[in-house]
Structure formats: C-alpha cells, structure tokens
Amino acid sequence: MKNILLLEDLPEIRAWLRKLVLQVFPTAQIAEGARVADALALVTAVKFDLALVDLGLPDGSGVDVVTKLRDVQPECQSVVVTIHDDDEHLFPALQAGAFGYILKEQPRELITEQLQRISQGEPPLSPSIARRVMAHFASTAKPRADATLINVSLTERESEVLLRVAKGYTLPEIGVQLGLSRHTIADYVKQIYRKLNVSSRAEAALEAQRLGLFGR
C-alpha cells in the first residue's frame, strides 16, 4: 500500500485514523481530506491504492467519492469508515463500489485487524447487508426486455454463502459447513461485492436510459 486517501471531517478522528493506518501500513503516503470536494479534487490528481471514506460529510455523502473512485481508479479499494452500522446507510456505498466497511467506534485492535483483512481481500459482510444483497439480486433476476445490458447474477455457491451469512453464521463457520477454505469463502464475498457493484451500475444505467427516453 503506497497511496492512501483518508476522508474524515472530524480532526481528532482523522488524526486517530491516520495513526492507525500508519500502524497497519507503515510506509504509506496518506492524503487527508475533510470534505467531499477535497476528496474529489485529490482523486483526479493522485492515484490511490486504498481510500478510507466517511459517509456523513459536511458538503455531501462519501458515496459520491466512492462512485468517482470506482469510475476513475477502478483498482483502488474503497472502504467505508462510518458510525452507521445499518444497511440503510451502508448499502448505497457498497453498491457504489465500496469494498467493505469499518465501524469507527470499534476498538483499535479490531479496526486494524479488519483493515488488514480488507487489504488482503477479506471484506466483512453482516447479516443485514447480506439480506439486502440477496434482495437486490432477487429483484434484478427478473427477465429484462433489453438484452443489451449485462445480466449479472450470483452463482449457486455465492448465493449459498450469502444465505448463510444472512442467517447469522460467521464466515469461518460457513467455510467449515461448506468444506471450503477461509480464502475461498473470502473470494466468494469479494465476488459478491463486485457483482453487487456491477449489477447496481447496470441498474443505474437502465434507470438513466429509461429517464432519458421519457425526457426526450
């Protein structure tokens, strides 16, 4: 990890996060921002490997930054750092392309561990987020009239993992149940996040097209 974007409006928390990030990635270059506008400017100027994005910012939502990052720097991993643990707030960010989330009030040890896991490709997935993802794919699974759009759907295994997460099983437990390694399960989760993003984009494009048709 070389270049890391840190977007957080509270100075104390930003400083604390900075310390924490440097603990995990001692050699990293950290660019800090307190507002969406700062972040968007940084995103066009610097190439990042990891972005820690707060959602509730004074001049907007961190989701916009996540979207922008996904557009201009697809290889950058966006991680939402938030005080909101509910899917209502998190899901839009995940749809926009965030690769996981960290709850700010968690103890330092937990956060560093999660950060490490995410950077190693093991994003967290809570039951409520899993349910939202399932609902999203259930609604887009309906046959579409226009075949031009990429129809993204989950594999049977991915669905299986999601279902178990929704029921409250931890990822290691699911690994044991399905006879899969921890890495494989993590890959499934990564794949689910990726597909959620792709599918959401297709959905958004479809919506835009529909609105465009009407607007014409």
């Binding site: 928390i13 005080i83 409520s128």
Partner: protein, 615 residues
C-alpha cells in the same frame, strides 16, 4: 262543502238516469198550443195566432224574428183537484211571464233587454186553486229572448219546451231531476274544474318543465268560465258584449287544449306557439266585423275549425303515445274518445234537434272528462314527485357516501401526512444524533486515555445507535433478527475464546416490532458482555424457540455463576435489573438463575403479539 257534495252527487247520481217522473200518468205533457206575436200584457185577441208544437225553437219556427211572443196552452180539469196543481217548464229561454186564466202567476227574469239568459233553469210554478176552473183553463206565457243569430251558442237561443201540468208532487220530482241535470251537476262540475284548473295552472306555472299542466289548468278554468252562465244570468253588460266575450273564450280554450296535448306529448313548435294566440285575437275581430246580429254563423264556423285543431292535436298526442308504447295511451284514448263524442253531439245539436237528455249528458260528460284527465295529471305529477323524492333520497345517500369517502380519504391522507412528517422528523433526529452526539462520543472513544471511559463511550454510542434504530426502524422478521443476533453473539464470544452452541428454529414467519428488536438486542448484548467479562465460561448455549405465542430465549453458560451477596441481591453491576426492566417494558419477563459454580441461565420470554403491537 257544497262543492264536495256536488262532486259526490255527480259521482253518485250520474248513472241512474231512469226518469221516475216522466212516466207519471198523472202529468199531462202539453205539446201543442197557440202562438201569437205581441208585446202587450195579454195574449193578443186577434187571429194572428197560429198553432205550434212544443218544443218551439225560434231558430226553426221564426229564425229571423226576435220579438216577444205569446203562447197559449189550454188544459181541462174534470173536477176540482184534490191536490195542489202546478205547471213545470223544462226550458224557457230567455225570460217569460205566466198567466193563468188571465191572472199573472209568475215572472222569470227581465222582460226587457238585456234579457235574463237563465236558459238552463227548469221552472216549477204552482197553480193557485182559486184561479183554477173546472173544465177548460188557459195558460198564457209571454216569452222574450234572442234569436239564434244573435247568440254564440244554440243553448242560449230563445225556445220553449213542452209544459207539464199536473199535481205538484210528481212535478216536483221532475223539477228536481231536471234541476240536477241542467243546473246542479254542471255547476258542481264547473266549480270542480275551476278549482282543479286553478290548482294545476299554478302547479304548471311554477314548474316550467311541466307546462302542460298550466295549459290544462287554463283549459279547465276556461271551461268553467264558459259555464259561468249557470251562476250569473244577468250581466251588467249589453247582451252583444256578453256573447262576444263568451265566443272569444272559445279560441282561448282551443289554444289551451292544443298546447296541453302537444306539451303533454313533449312536443312544441314555435309556429304553433305563435299561431294560437293570433287566432285567439283574430276570432273576436271577425265576430266584431260580422256584427252582433250575425254572431251564430261565424261562431259555428270558428267552432268547427277549433274543434278540428283540437282533434288534430289529440290525434298527434295519441299517435305519440302509441309509438312510445305508453300505458296512458288507452286511458287517455278512452277519455279523448268520450270528449270527441260529446263534441260531436254538441256540434250536431247546433243543426238538428236532439233529445234533451242526450244534450244534457254530453254537456255533463265534457267537464267530467276534463276532471278525470285532471285527476290523471295530478296522479302522474304526484308519482313523478314521489319518484323525484326517491331519486333525491338516493342521490342524497350517494352524496353522503361520497362525502364520507372523501372524509375517510382525507383522514387517511392526513394520517399518512402525519406519519410522513413523523418519519421525517425521526430521521432528522436520528441524523442529528449520529452527527453530533455520535461524533462527540466517537471522539471520546478514541481520544480518552482511560480504557473505562472509552468503553463507556463506546457502549453509549452503541446504545444511541440502537435507540435511533428503535426510533426509525420498521418491524423486523424474527428470522432476520435471529440472524443478526447470532452473528453478533457468536463473533463476540469467538473473539473472547468462548465456544457458542446456538440453536434456533428455521423459517420463523413472525415479526418483531423495532422496539422489541432493539430491546432484545440490548438484553442479549448485555448477557454476552457479562459472560465475556465475568463468567469465565468456556461454553455458552443459546436456545431460541417460539411456543404458545411467546418468543423464548435461553442463554446458558458454564461459568462460575454469580455468587449471592449477603443481602440476597443477584445484581452486582451486571445490568441484571436493566435486563429485567427491558423485558418488562415489552410485557415479557427475564428470569436469571445463577449459583456459585453452576453457571448462569438467563430466560427471556416475550409475547410475540404484543411485541408486534408495540410501536
């Protein structure tokens, strides 16, 4: 009152027309006599007298002349009569003077112009026994009147009917019958027509959509006015003016009749609306042009024309009704047929001599038909009113229903609005809590030097989040709630190195209110914290089930248990009281069993229905 009685008479007495007195053998009907022109006080004693048969209609016997005439009738009395004798005259038009054996007995009406046109009244004059002679007696009758040419209707032209002479009593019966037929019934009918006609005129006038009622009312009133001669015999006007007025009524009647029939058939035409009043003006002017002495001919011609117009209108009306398959076709058809027959009889009577009875009946039938049509119209009107009332009631009901519906919708809308506003407000409060309180707590969590304060702030933050969730959250499916709880409990315990044995049924369809979800989450979180911090357990078994409408959650650990203090309190800062309090708020209960060395068992029971009901 007399009107009602008259109407009653009309209905009750009309059918039995067998004349009881006519067949009386005691009565002598004198049909022959002498007639002499003369204006003197006595029968002229010269040879100009000529034999006539009674009835003597001047229109036939002396069409041109209008001067007074003496009639002499002789009758013989074989012996002095035991009973009072009398003479009865069915019709003597217009005024007369009666002398018995030269003595003046009776005078009816004015003997100088304008004469009293009391033509329909029968007369009964008793013969004083003192003036009667055994053997031949002579009755002299001086008659004055107008020739046919000078009157509008033949019924007003001078004429004398046969004289009936005999005992008083049977003659009284005969008099009563004739008076009923010629006076009382027509009077009663006329009064009825005036009343109903007036009523209907007002009705039709007020209800412009039922203008036929107004025309019918006008027709009835006009007809009653035409019969005004029954009431008023002596007008304070010259005879010619009275005749002209009566004649002028005819086109007005025709106007009303034609318009009534057309409007009743729901048809109107501007030309007809205009032509009929014009005709009503034209007719009197032609009569004026013809002069008072040549009135009858033009009136007859006009009457024929008017009758034709009315007949055409009637046919038009009937044809319409027939085409519409209207049920009133037969009723109105029958009534109009009777009217037509009566009109025909009336018209025929102008040219030839018809039996008195037929004329009297036809004169009665016409107003009777009008009354019947009037009744029919009133019936239809009230039926229509009733229907209107019913439909109005229906409409009112529908309006009421619609209003209620609108009100209900409005209320729902208002409720929805309140809900939306509440929801928005909750979201705002939640956002504020997160942004302000959350941020501050978070700062404390990560900047505090003290672990204890960090932990407290973290717990406060968690509490705050849960509160917000309870504030804004929707009902949660029990299965989803179990998923959330499992993930949290298992991962937390796993981090602390404690094994978890979680058992819960699959596919729970029940839901929990946001509040119940939040409170249970807190209880479970507290229990988990206690196990991690205090129990020293290596294994925790969580068992969930739904039984008898209750949700049951049992958390059991194999730790040290909580040793009872000397004062018997189980709670030692472990939040047990808070857990119990929370369960109580949900109408449930939280039981905690513990003993040193036996671990701790927490049993939470929540009634699902009530947990649902709670906001």
């Amino acid at each position: 009152m007399w009107l009602l009685r008259g109407l009653f008479l009309l209905l009750a007495l009309a059918p039995p027309f067998a004349p009881p007195a006519l067949a009386q053998p005691l009565i002598t009907l004198v049909g022959e006599g002498l007639r002499a022109e003369g204006d003197g006080p006595h029968f002229p004693q010269d040879s100009r007298a000529q034999r006539v048969t009674l009835p003597d209609d001047w229109a036939r016997s002396r069409p041109a002349a209008g001067s007074p005439v003496w009639y002499r009738v002789a009758f013989t009395l074989p012996a002095a009569p035991q009973a009072l004798s009398a003479v009865q005259i069915a019709r003597a038009c217009a005024s007369f003077e009666l002398r018995l054996n030269g003595h003046l007995l009776h005078r009816s009406g004015r003997m100088t112009e304008p004469y009293t046109l009391d033509c329909d009244r029968p007369h009964l004059v008793s013969l004083p026994p003192a003036l009667l002679r055994t053997g031949e007696n002579v009755l002299d009758l001086r008659l004055v009147g107008y020739p046919l040419a000078a009157v509008a209707a033949r019924s007003r032209a001078a004429a004398l009917s046969p004289l009936a002479i005999g005992p008083l009593e049977p003659l009284q019966a005969r008099q009563r019958l004739q008076a009923t037929l010629q006076m009382r019934l027509p009077q009663a009918l006329g009064a009825t027509l005036l009343l109903t006609g007036g009523f209907m005129f007002v009705l039709g006038f007020l209800n412009r959509r039922e203008s036929h009622l107004a025309y019918f009312g006008a027709l009835s009133v006009g007809w009653a006015l035409l019969d005004a001669q029954l009431w008023v015999q002596q007008w304070p006007l010259p005879h010619a003016a009275v005749e002209l007025m009566l004649a002028a009524l005819l086109p007005l009647l025709a106007w009303a009749a034609v318009q009534f029939l057309l409007r009743y058939a729901h048809w109107r035409h501007r030309a007809i609306d205009l032509a009929l009043p014009l005709q009503a003006l034209l007719m009197p002017s032609t009569l004026l042009a013809a002069g008072p002495q040549r009135l009858h001919g033009p009136v007859l011609a006009w009457s024929a024309l008017l009758a034709l117009e009315v007949a055409a209108a009637a046919l038009f009306y009937l044809q319409r009704q027939w085409r519409e398959r209207s049920p009133s076709f037969w009723l109105m058809g029958a009534l109009l047929l009777v009217v037509a027959i009566c009109g025909g009889v009336d018209l025929a009577a102008q040219f030839t001599h018809l039996p008195e009875l037929a004329q009297a009946l036809s004169r009665l039938a016409l107003p009777l038909m009008l009354v019947l049509v009037g009744l029919r119209l009133v019936q239809q009107h009230s039926l229509a009113r009733q229907q209107a009332e019913v439909s109005r009631t229906l409409l009112e009901q529908r309006v009421r229903e619609a209003a209620a519906e609108i009100e209900r919708n409005f209320r729902q809308l208002a409720e929805l609005k309140v809900e939306q506003v509440t929801e928005r407000e909750r979201k705002r409060i939640a956002a504020d809590l997160h942004d302000d309180l959350g941020a501050k707590l978070l700062t404390i969590v990560h900047t505090s030097e003290s672990d204890r304060i960090s932990t407290l702030a973290r717990e406060a933050l968690e509490e705050m989040r849960l509160s917000v969730r309870g504030l804004t959250g929707r009902a949660v499916r029990l299965a989803d709630a179990l998923g959330d709880w499992r993930a949290e409990v298992v991962s937390r315990l796993a981090q602390a190195g404690i094994e978890t044995d979680w058992s819960a049924p699959e596919d729970l369809p029940q839901t929990l209110s946001a509040r119940a979800y939040v409170q249970t989450t807190r209880i479970l979180r507290e229990a988990t914290s206690n196990i991690i911090k205090h129990s020293g357990a290596s294994l925790c078994a969580v068992h969930c089930q739904v039984r008898d409408g209750d949700f049951q959650l049992v958390v059991r650990d194999n730790g040290e248990g909580i040793s009872s203090e000397p004062d018997g309190r189980l709670d030692r800062g472990h939040g047990m009281a808070t857990m119990k309090q929370r369960a109580k708020q949900l109408q449930g209960q939280c039981l905690i069993e513990s003993g040193p060395g036996f671990g701790t068992v927490i049993r939470l029971t929540l009634p699902l229905e009530r947990a649902l009901e709670l906001p």
